[in-house]
């Protein structure tokens, strides 16, 4: 399981065509090992969101190759027609805001993904409770999202991302709305989960508070990535 993390080679994305064409990604190369958390840092307009959307299989790259969990999902063309199933089974998402489904309680927010994958409700809920315990929010299992604090909501959204045991988690500014203590708490959880479940995690961030926690950082500038060793400060 999760043998190969994330591997991206020569990824390109061009919007439009002719004179108005814009190359959002020119040459992106990344590797994230299973159990590793890397940072993706870059100024606005550098191509972070485009890269995230390509990795999240919501927009199609123009060229290149992407491998998730040992499976090539894109090689100058999608390797599967069912991108929805690909996102559901291979990729976990953590957003800047938790975006929990407001009409489902905490357990069902986490159990929804396994249920969508066809797992029995009882098994999906069991899995959800395990994750909520691991993330220390099991005591809020029956609460509605609106009854949770911001930090609790973010932990539930991490549990949701892990619910289908995906090889990859894409976290889009997960600490932006949090104070330093909570932001570092989220990073601690992401690192724990990465090690525990052998998940490769890319954290897109601007957040100066958490950048020193990464052992490796990818800078993206003008559609190109540059790898840099991080401080890897202990959490």
């Amino acid at each position: 399981m999760n043998d190969d993390g994330i591997r991206i080679e020569g990824l390109r994305k061009r919007y439009g065509s002719g004179d108005t064409a814009v190359d959002a990604l020119k040459d992106v190369n990344m590797r994230v090992a299973p159990g590793e958390v890397v940072g993706l840092v870059g100024p606005s307009g550098s191509g972070k969101s485009t890269l995230l959307k390509c990795l999240g299989a919501v927009i199609e790259p123009s060229a290149g190759r992407m491998t998730l969990g040992g499976e090539t999902i894109y090689d100058d063309a999608w390797k599967t027609r069912d991108l929805r199933a690909l996102r559901r089974d291979k990729i976990g998402f953590v957003f800047q805001a938790p975006y929990l489904i407001p009409f489902l309680d905490v357990t069902d927010n986490v159990a929804l993904l396994p249920m969508l994958s066809g797992r029995p409700n009882a098994e999906a809920r069991r899995r959800a409770v395990e994750l909520l315990e691991a993330l220390d929010v099991a005591h809020r299992a029956r609460a509605q999202p609106s009854q949770l604090s911001g930090g609790e909501q973010q932990r539930v959204s991490i549990a949701r991302a892990l619910a289908n045991q995906p090889p990859v988690i894409l976290a889009d500014e997960p600490t932006a709305p949090l104070d330093s203590e909570r932001a570092l708490g989220v990073m601690r959880i992401l690192n724990q989960m990465a090690s525990q479940y052998r998940t490769a995690i890319i954290v897109v961030t601007h957040d100066e508070k958490i950048i020193p926690t990464f052992k490796r950082i990818y800078h993206i500038r003008d559609g190109r990535t540059y790898e840099e060793a991080g401080e890897g400060r202990a959490l």
């Binding site: 999240g56 559901r88 998402f93 957003f95 489904i101 069902d108």
Partner: protein
């Protein structure tokens, strides 16, 4: 798999219930409109049923006595009684008028009948049938008269001796039954000044007042101030005779128009209340369109309020049909609440209507199916909007 629609409804139940109640009142109005039409049809059937007649004999080439005026001499019933297959025949007059009730008026159809003959009310809810030849009345309860109350018609007072129910004209006016002779007088009675004036005019006319013809003037004046016409003769067929066979005999030999109960029902339903029925049908169509527009608007607005959640659901791999199903189920749920509220509301307010409102289970079933179809149709707009949501919108930037 959990029901996303059900959870959403439970989560925001107050919004759903209040919206459902609003929609329900509209559905209640729709069901009531259908009930008004059914009530008109049923009133017509009950009117025919309670008259105790098998045939309505009227003036030739007319659709009388309800749909068109009809005038017959009041001795024709004797000729009809001589025909084979006629068990009973009785004169009846109909006159819609304002009847005094205390200091106010009641609009009623005054029906002149012969006691014990076809035409008298089929059953009473209080009191007795007419037994005397003059100045008694049996009233439909909708007139508001009570037993023993005195009704003023033209120049005479009538005592209410019986009360009946569901005897109304095609226009919905409750009926007031009085003896035939009184009704004939009421139809044609002139005031004293007019009678005196007519007599003077007749006497001044040399053609009608010839010196050499004694009694001519008296005879002419007597005919001017009396009435020997009725609107219809109601016939009851003898056992073993088909009403249609008897009707054919009457048409052939008496040169009158005779309608069977089925034909009279056809006249009442297809001709007399046809315009009202079309009017109601138009209302039903408009109400259906308005209901559909409201459901569509509500569901669409609710869906737009969940765009971010829908984007997240799509991003994490929810099937389009699951999202469409959620919206469809919510629309149907709204329709279900609306229908339940509408049915209860219509049941409660129907008796308060001045005209009979008949809410039938068949109409309720048809209404339920229509509401569900309308809701399903109305949800397509919201489903379309939801399916067009780009999952990428869940990712910032």
């Amino acid at each position: 798999m959990i029901s996303l629609a059900g959870r959403d409804i439970l989560h925001s139940w107050a919004k759903f219930v209040f919206t459902g109640v609003g929609l329900g009142l509209l559905i209640g109005v729709t069901l009531t409109m259908a009930g008004v039409y059914r009530g008109m049809v049923d009133d017509a059937k009950v009117l025919l049923e309670n008259s105790g007649a098998d045939l309505w004999v009227v003036q030739k080439d007319t659709l009388g006595p309800y749909a068109e005026p009809s005038s017959l001499r009041d001795d024709i019933y004797r000729n009809l009684l001589g025909l084979p297959g006629v068990a009973a025949a009785a004169n009846v007059t109909y006159l819609t008028m304002q009847v005094r009730k205390g200091n106010s008026d009641v609009r009623a159809m005054v029906v002149g009948i012969t006691p014990g003959q076809p035409g008298e009310p089929g059953y009473l809810v209080a009191g007795r049938q007419l037994t005397r030849g003059h100045y008694e009345a049996v009233a439909d309860v909708k007139t508001g008269f009570a037993l023993g109350e005195v009704v003023r018609i033209r120049r005479h007072d009538y005592t209410v001796v019986g009360l009946t129910r569901r005897m109304v004209s095609s226009g919905g006016d409750p009926m007031l039954f009085i003896p035939l002779k009184d009704a004939q007088e009421a139809q044609f009675l002139k005031d004293n000044e007019a009678i005196r004036n007519d007599r003077a005019r007749t006497a001044a006319n040399p053609a009608l007042n010839r010196p050499g013809v004694p009694g001519l003037l008296d005879a002419i004046q007597a005919s001017q101030s009396s009435n020997h016409n009725v609107n219809t003769v109601l016939v009851r067929a003898a056992a073993g005779y088909a009403p249609e066979t008897v009707a054919q005999e009457i048409r052939r030999w008496k040169h009158l128009q005779a309608y069977t109960r089925a034909q009279m029902e056809e006249i009442l339903v297809a001709k007399l209340i046809a315009t009202s029925a079309r009017q109601i049908a138009m209302f039903l169509v408009i109400l259906a369109i308005v209901s559909a527009a409201i459901v569509a608007f509500i569901i669409y607005t609710m869906t737009l309020g969940k765009i971010r959640e829908i984007a997240v659901l799509k991003l994490i791999g929810t099937r389009s049909r699951t999202i469409a199903g959620m919206i469809l189920q919510q629309a149907l749920g709204l329709g279900l609440i609306g229908f339940a509220v509408g049915k209860v509301a219509a049941t409660f307010w129907a008796p308060a209507f001045p005209k009979y409102v008949l809410l039938t289970p068949d109409d309720a079933l048809r209404g339920f199916v229509a509401v569900m179809l309308i809701c399903a149709l109305a949800s397509t707009l919201a489903i379309r909007a939801a399916l067009r949501v780009d999952p990428a919108t869940a990712i910032g930037g």
